[in-house]
């Protein structure tokens, strides 16, 4: 049983707190992703759970035991670093078994477990090599094997895929998720890549400036962003934003007028709001249709199966994604509409979502 509980975590460097009173509960077996822009405190948070950074105040418990003041080695956690952090003077096998040998685990037992993880990660042919002679992807596999062989209560990943090229990143991402599906070890994974977070997580903890902005399943984060910041951070291409107001049951911004589905939003007539329109939730319509937005094509980005159209609406760019983009050319008038169930409205002053 290894749920993680962080309560009232404060971290300050000097007088300046970078994390101020953070509370977080991670249930057993969950795969949680800490997501956020650089400097939001996600890595600091992970390193405090690992024990590599001291907490200024607050408590951390793993599996019910208070580990706040324990040495990193006594917390039952294993970590995979962005830079792999392999011991350059040891062979792959020695790297993987270092912790077990140190702990005095008997030789035959070490060999058995080494064989097991090496097979799982496909490292058998290179056990006698030095890390220097291996590619980044192989090195990261060794780092994962080193973490796995300890059979820890918690896996911690600190941006493990950021140093790899795009293809390898996807492949290893899938492997990590499969590994979790079979081992079911509680896992925390830090990344700044929202796509990586969406594809791998059971639950995303989105952080901003040392605080949790929103946490939830990838679907919740994507479809019901709690703030404008979350809405802007998640999704590619990113959301279109327009300043507007509520008028007679519709959200209005310039020529854009989208009727509000009844009961979805808690807004008042005349309220100053910001509209959020996801490019992937819009589609071309005929010019006179209900809620149609009309503009002039300023750029077409061919993405293969789909295309992103950037159209000028009321003097500003608005983008949407459609399969029906071939045949359009720059300067053409184009009409498109958002399905009303996917409209987002944010309070202009607080940036919070107006979802009821």
């Amino acid at each position: 049983m290894a749920h993680i509980e962080c309560s009232g975590i404060v971290k300050s460097y000097g007088a300046h707190p970078v994390i101020d009173g953070l509370n977080l509960m991670i249930p057993d077996h969950e795969f949680v992703v800490f997501l956020g822009p650089s400097g939001c405190g996600k890595s600091t948070m992970l390193r405090m759970i690992a024990g590599l950074e001291e907490v200024t105040a607050g408590r951390i418990s793993i599996g019910g035991a208070d580990v706040t003041n324990r040495h990193p080695g006594q917390r039952g956690v294993a970590m995979v670093f962005q830079s792999y952090a392999l011991y350059p003077h040891m062979t792959v096998a020695d790297n993987i078994t270092f912790g077990l040998r140190r702990a005095g685990v008997p030789g035959p037992e070490i060999d058995r477990r080494l064989g097991e993880v090496a097979r799982m990660l496909g490292l058998e042919p290179m056990l006698n090599r030095k890390p220097k002679a291996m590619s980044g992807g192989q090195q990261q596999r060794v780092a994962m094997a080193r973490a796995m062989i300890k059979t820890p209560k918690v896996f911690l990943f600190d941006e493990p895929l950021s140093n790899l090229d795009a293809k390898l990143r996807e492949k290893l991402r899938t492997e990590i998720r499969k590994m979790h599906n079979s081992l079911k070890t509680t896992t925390i994974f830090v990344t700044h890549d929202q796509l990586e977070a969406m594809t791998i997580a059971d639950r995303i903890v989105l952080m901003r400036a040392g605080a949790i902005e929103q946490q939830g399943t990838p679907d919740e984060i994507f479809d019901r962003p709690a703030t404008r910041f979350v809405a802007d951070f998640i999704g590619s291409p990113s959301m279109n934003f327009r300043l507007g107001r509520i008028e007679r049951g519709a959200a209005v911004a310039g020529s854009v007028r989208i009727p509000l589905p009844p009961g979805r939003f808690a807004v008042a007539e005349g309220q100053e709001v910001e509209l959020g329109l996801r490019p992937t939730r819009m589609e071309r319509v005929s010019p006179g249709a209900e809620g149609a937005i009309t503009g002039r094509v300023s750029l077409i980005e061919n993405m293969g199966a789909e295309g992103q159209i950037i159209a000028e609406v009321d003097g500003a760019d608005m983008s949407f994604v459609t399969r029906d983009f071939r045949g359009l050319s720059i300067g053409d008038p184009v009409s498109f509409a958002l399905s009303p169930d996917h409209l987002h409205i944010f309070d202009r002053a607080t940036g919070r979502s107006c979802l009821a």
Partner: protein, 274 residues
């Protein structure tokens, strides 16, 4: 493109420079195998009948033999203790002292600003008062200022170049600070540390002033060599040449290591700045 003549001139200049760098050393080495009558000639002789007499003379000379033994003892002890105390301190400065570390490093560096006479003169009086003047132990103690500060000065950046994640990974596997140092940082930084060790060795092996003032009787090799060379006009030039060769050989032996030290320092410097 540079005209051909300029390029040839540049090559010639380079050749001349290499000659200037090496010729004095080679000429001395040559002199070590010459008999006195081959040295004292109006026109320098490049070809002569080589002799080993000069080396026989110095190796048979008890002063020089003792000097060699003293040098080895003093250098080994002071560099050894310097490394033993300096290397762990450097690791701690590089890893565990973010705020106070700079001040300590400045203090260590400032010891290298200290003029050697400012150390020699007080210590000669203190040693005379304590009755340990002219002892190797006293000389070793004073040399510790040089060896410890140089080791810390050169080893701190070597430990800073060890990626911190490696040490963190070891800590995650349960290693204490001491174990991280011993099993991870030390072996990873070893090549640079070896260079630092060599540099410190060369400094102490070559030192004259402190040895001259604090242990005039138990002289080290530089003191012996200096005393032979200041004999006046009637000098056994060949013997001096041979003595110089003996003095020069150990440091030259380490030239490759020094090169490695320069390479690693510069490459890492470029990385941190770029």
């Amino acid at each position: 493109m540079v005209p051909l003549i300029l390029r040839i001139l540049a090559r010639l200049a380079l050749g001349l420079l290499v000659l200037i760098a090496l010729a004095p050393i080679l000429w001395t080495a040559l002199g070590a195998f010459k008999e006195l009558r081959d040295i004292v000639t109006p026109v320098p002789k490049l070809f002569f009948t080589p002799t080993l007499d000069n080396f026989a003379t110095i190796l048979g000379n008890p002063t020089i033999r003792d000097g060699l033994v003293n040098s080895v003892l003093v250098v080994a002890a002071s560099v050894g203790i310097g490394a033993l105390l300096g290397i762990p301190a450097a690791h701690t400065l590089a890893r565990h002292m973010r705020r106070r570390g700079d001040d300590i490093q400045f203090f260590v560096l400032s010891l290298r600003f200290m003029p050697p006479v400012a150390i020699a003169i007080p210590f000669i009086v203190i040693y005379l008062d304590l009755g340990i003047y002219d002892s190797l132990g006293g000389l070793i103690l004073v040399y510790l200022v040089t060896t410890i500060s140089t080791m810390i000065w050169l080893a701190t950046p070597a430990f800073e170049r060890v990626p911190p994640e490696i040490e963190e990974a070891a800590a995650m596997e349960g290693c204490s600070e001491a174990e991280v140092f011993w099993r991870i940082s030390l072996p990873v930084a070893a090549p640079s540390l070896f260079g630092a060790l060599v540099f410190t060795f060369v400094l102490v092996w070559n030192e004259l002033l402190l040895a001259l003032t604090l242990a005039a009787q138990n002289a080290t090799l530089p003191v012996v060599a200096a005393s032979i060379t200041s004999l006046g006009k009637e000098v056994p030039w060949g013997v001096i040449n041979a003595a110089t060769v003996v003095l020069v050989l150990p440091p030259l032996f380490f030239i490759g290591l020094l090169m490695g030290l320069i390479n690693s320092m510069i490459r890492s410097g470029g990385r941190t700045k770029g």
